[in-house]
Each structure stands twice: as structure tokens, then as C-alpha cells.
């Protein structure tokens, strides 16, 4: 199996584990200002991904990720289904049919995911969504790589940047999703989606990058 595909597999597996391990916690975060179903929706989506994991088409990384996106879209309800499904679909499309991917490809895939979410959900930075964690994650990853960091170290730094940004969403007023209805009251708690991105990045960093191409 090409190295990139096995890394992609590890990353998806790690993200699924984070989603399933934190189901209650993510629900709790969503219920402070939203409707409390985020953790449940995300967990059901990734649960289905893991159920079908072995039979997913692995022609190449792109196909693999697109299939993951379709499973998530089909099984994960709420805003998260279309949002997370779109992210994987776009990342897969950006990967194309290449069998080995470089760090530049990974950055392009992340950017594609970001833009897909933005287009689907219409959120801007600062609207208190997962984009507010994802953007600094990508920017930091790119910057570290440009500064010649190894991929593993670069991603660890990116995860830390995402964490800092996710924590800062506490200061924002939610403008998207169900949390938007709480207006001023949404201030003071971080965005559930942003925290999920952060924890996934941290776990991916810890679990996967050791075995990856660094």
C-alpha cells in the first residue's frame, strides 16, 4: 500500500476515535449555546465510517477520502453532516488520482476542505464556527513547513495554533448554526466545532505523525 494512503487511513481512524471518545463532551459544548446534538451527530457519522472502513474503495487517497465524505454526508445529521462531508469530499477532490502526496498537496487539500465548508455554510471567519480553528491550523502548518520544519513538528505547531484559536472563540458571538440564536449569550463558551477540530488535530499529531513521513 502506498505510504500516503496508509497515513490517510491512520488520520481518518484517529479522527473517528476522537469523535467517538468525545461524543458526550462535544454534545455538552454544543448545548451551552447550541442544541446539544453536535457530538451525537459527529459520532454517528464517524461510527458509520469505521463500520464500512475495510470495504471503502482505496484506489487512491482521493477516492478514499471522497468515499469517507459520502458516508459522513449520508449518515451524519445536523449541520455537521453537510459541513464535514463537504470537507472530506473537497479534500479528496484536491488529492485527485495521485498515489503519493507531498506536504504541498496536503496543504492544498486542507485549503480545499476549508473553502468547501465556507461555500456550503456561508460562514465567514469570526462567525464562531469550526472555520475559526481550521484557518489558523492551515496557516500555521503552511508557515512552519515554509520555515523548513519537519511535517510532524509543523503539524504539532499547527494543532497548537488551532487550540489557541479555538479557545479564543469564547470571545466571539455566534453568527451561524443554532448557536446564533443565543446572540450575546453565546459569548463566554468556545465553539463546539472549533474544539472538535482542535482535539482531532492534537490526536492526529500525537498518534499519526510519528509513523508518517517525517
Amino acid at each position: 500500500m502506498p505510504a500516503s494512503l496508509s497515513v490517510a487511513e491512520d488520520i481518518v481512524r484517529s479522527m473517528a476515535k476522537t469523535a467517538l471518545d468525545n461524543e458526550q463532551y462535544f454534545c455538552q459544548l454544543d448545548s451551552v449555546v447550541g442544541d446539544g446534538d453536535f457530538g451525537y451527530s459527529l459520532a454517528r457519522g464517524f461510527e458509520k465510517v469505521m463500520e464500512e472502513f475495510d470495504s471503502i474503495d482505496r484506489t487512491d487517497v482521493g477516492t478514499f477520502l471522497k468515499k469517507v465524505g459520502i458516508i459522513i454526508t449520508s449518515r451524519c445529521g445536523g449541520t455537521s453532516g453537510p459541513i464535514w462531508g463537504t470537507a472530506f469530499l473537497r479534500a479528496g477532490m484536491a488529492a485527485g488520482t495521485r498515489s503519493e502526496l507531498g506536504t504541498a498537496d496536503v496543504v492544498a487539500m486542507l485549503r480545499a476542505a476549508f473553502e468547501g465548508i465556507q461555500k456550503r455554510g456561508g460562514a465567514a471567519l469570526g462567525d464562531k464556527t469550526l472555520l475559526d480553528a481550521l484557518d489558523p491550523l492551515i496557516t500555521s502548518f503552511e508557515r512552519e513547513l515554509a520555515a523548513a520544519a519537519k511535517p510532524g513538528a509543523a503539524f504539532a505547531a499547527a494543532a497548537a495554533a488551532a487550540k489557541e484559536a479555538a479557545d479564543k472563540t469564547s470571545e466571539l458571538v455566534a453568527k451561524r448554526g443554532r448557536a446564533a440564536y443565543t446572540g450575546e449569550r453565546s459569548r463566554g463558551s468556545p465553539d463546539a466545532g472549533a474544539i472538535a477540530v482542535t482535539l482531532m488535530a492534537r490526536d492526529v499529531s500525537e498518534r499519526c505523525t510519528a509513523t508518517a513521513a517525517d
Partner: protein, 331 residues
């Protein structure tokens, strides 16, 4: 959790199974896609009307499937928009020469899912149109970029469009009727307690016994403010002020008045609220032409109620009056 439940993850499927068993002549449950459909739908002589949204709002919308109302419903899990492919499969099953109309309550999750499903269905050559319902005055467009929420006023849109589609209206006419109903429909709600989604096991929020949440959303989203609970009369005044002044409804208007229970409030209290709202509307010179008291759009077992007004004209009134037959009838 004071609930009748087996595996919380199977809560919605088990409910739908019961619904179909209780209505063996009129409804079919399709477990693969978690959908409820009329046994006699689709028909190429009528536009198929579909609604989907989170569960937990019963009777909305799975129990509103039937002659003169919805042709099919594709519910999500409790308080979560349905997954895209369930909507797409429902659309395929409801394919009609006259097209398929989605009635979507204005929530991000629902909008995104129905948008993706519409794209996928149209790619298969099915004509799909979407009507957005947003009757809740608690949140206003200016401050909330996501727009107003769809709540109990939903019922009137389903009823009017269901009746018109039964009479053979085409999809453009239905969209126009739906927009006209949405334009004259306004709702606001009050919660006296929280509710507990089965898969969550703990209440969504906490509220003291002498408090109320003014302008509550139907998923436990906070509303305008938290306040000390008032008397029924004070609450009616507060709801009417918000609703009447929003459209505004004016002296001389004839309206449908709905007092909708949020799930945990007994119907005795709903009639009490109705009586006071009726009297207060009379004082404002607004006549109640049609009356709706009961549960139409709930939040599981939440104690609370919402008040909806619909400004009536001859066309809307005839559609609301038209015959219909859905499971939520008591006999």
C-alpha cells in the same frame, strides 16, 4: 430521564415503526431511510410534498403525513437535520411528473442538507423546489445572520400547501401559496422547563421552577431573555405584543390563533391561554376566525407553549378548512 425508551439510538426508528403499525392502511415506514410515506403516494397528478427536520417535535412532522398534508416525511435524529441521502431517497420514492416540493424549516442543518439533496435529486432528473419556513419572531433578521427559525407556524404551511396540492395546483402555484402563508404567519414561544433528548440523557439547559425562557427555540435554544415566570395573563400579553407588532396584525384583521403546547404542558393550560389570547385579541380589534389548540410542534417533554397568528383571507381560509386526514387525529 423519565422516559419510555429502549436503546436511545433507536428511539426514532422505534417511534416510526409504532406510527406505521398504528396506521396500517395509510402509512408505510421505510426503515432503510427512516422515512414515513403515504401508502398512496406519489401520484403524477399532484406535486409531492416532503418535509424533514430533526425529530422530537412530534406530531410535527412525521404525524402530519396523510391526505391533504404531507406525502412523506424524512426525520432526522432527535433535534438533528436528516442525513442527506435519506432526503435523496425520500425524493426518489416521491418522484412525480408534477415535481417535488420540500418544506424546510429555517435552520442551518436543514437548509444545507436539503440543498445537497436537491442538487443530487435534480441530477437524477427530478424537479425539486424548496420553500423555507421562518415564522418565529423571537429572533429577528437584523441581528441573526441565519434568519428566523421555523416553528409551529409550520403547520399552517403544510396544511395550506397540502390542500392546494390535493386540488392539483402546480409547483409554482404551491410555492406562491406557501410564501403567502409564511408572509402572514408569526409565532413566539415560552418555555417553563427544559427537555432531555433520549440519547443525551440530561436536560438541555437548566431553568429554575419560577423562571421562564421568553422566545425559546424548539430545540432548547435560548430565546430573547430569561425572566421570572408571570401569570398566564401576563404571558399572553407578552406573546401577543411580540407577535402582533411584528407583522403587524391590525384592527379589523381576521386571524387563525394557535396555542401550541411544547410537549409537557397539559391541554387544560393551553385552552386557558387560548381563552385569554382570544379576549385580548378582541380588545385589539382582531377577530379569531379559526382556532387551534393542542400540540403541533413540540420539544419532547418541554413545559411551555407558543402562540401563532395567521392573517386570514378567503384563499388561505379555504385551504385551512379543506379536509385532511393524518395520524394525529384522535380517532
Amino acid at each position: 430521564m423519565r422516559k419510555f425508551v429502549n436503546d436511545p439510538k433507536q428511539f426514532v426508528p422505534e417511534m416510526l415503526k409504532g406510527l406505521a403499525l398504528a396506521n396500517p392502511e395509510t402509512l408505510t415506514y421505510v426503515p432503510q431511510y427512516n422515512l414515513i410515506m403515504r401508502k398512496d403516494a406519489p401520484s403524477d397528478r399532484k406535486v409531492s410534498i416532503i418535509q424533514g427536520s430533526g425529530s422530537g417535535h412530534e406530531p410535527a412532522h412525521v404525524m402530519a403525513v396523510g391526505r391533504g398534508m404531507l406525502d412523506a416525511a424524512c426525520p432526522g435524529d432527535v433535534f438533528s437535520a436528516p442525513p442527506v441521502d435519506y432526503i435523496t431517497e425520500t425524493t426518489k420514492l416521491m418522484r412525480s411528473e408534477k415535481g417535488v416540493l420540500y418544506l424546510v424549516n429555517n435552520y442551518t442543518g436543514d437548509r444545507l442538507a436539503f440543498e445537497m439533496a436537491a442538487e443530487l435529486s435534480m441530477a437524477e432528473g427530478i424537479e425539486v423546489e424548496t420553500l423555507i419556513i421562518n415564522d418565529d419572531v423571537a429572533v429577528s433578521d437584523s441581528t441573526y445572520t441565519v434568519g428566523r427559525r421555523g416553528v409551529a407556524g409550520n403547520f399552517f404551511v403544510i396544511k395550506a400547501i397540502g390542500a392546494a396540492s390535493e386540488q392539483g395546483a402546480d409547483i409554482e402555484q404551491l410555492l406562491a401559496i406557501g410564501k403567502r402563508v409564511v408572509d402572514v404567519t408569526r409565532t413566539m414561544g415560552i418555555a417553563l422547563s427544559s427537555c432531555t433528548p433520549p440519547a443525551k440523557g440530561v436536560p438541555l439547559f437548566s431553568i429554575a421552577e419560577d423562571e421562564m425562557e421568553v422566545g425559546i427555540g424548539i430545540h432548547g435554544e435560548p430565546g430573547r431573555r430569561r425572566a421570572k415566570r408571570g401569570t398566564a395573563d401576563e404571558i399572553v400579553t407578552l406573546l401577543l405584543d411580540a407577535v402582533v407588532e411584528d407583522l403587524p396584525y391590525k384592527n379589523g384583521d381576521r386571524v387563525a390563533l394557535m396555542i401550541n403546547g411544547l410537549g409537557g404542558t397539559p391541554i387544560s393550560e393551553l385552552y386557558l391561554l387560548f381563552g385569554r389570547a382570544h379576549e385580548q385579541l378582541k380588545k385589539r380589534g382582531i377577530a379569531v376566525g379559526r382556532s387551534y389548540v393542542g400540540e403541533y410542534c413540540t420539544s419532547l417533554e418541554m413545559a411551555g407553549a407558543s402562540l401563532t397568528l395567521v392573517r386570514l383571507d378567503d384563499e388561505i381560509e379555504a385551504l385551512l378548512e379543506a379536509d385532511a386526514e393524518v395520524p394525529i387525529r384522535v380517532f
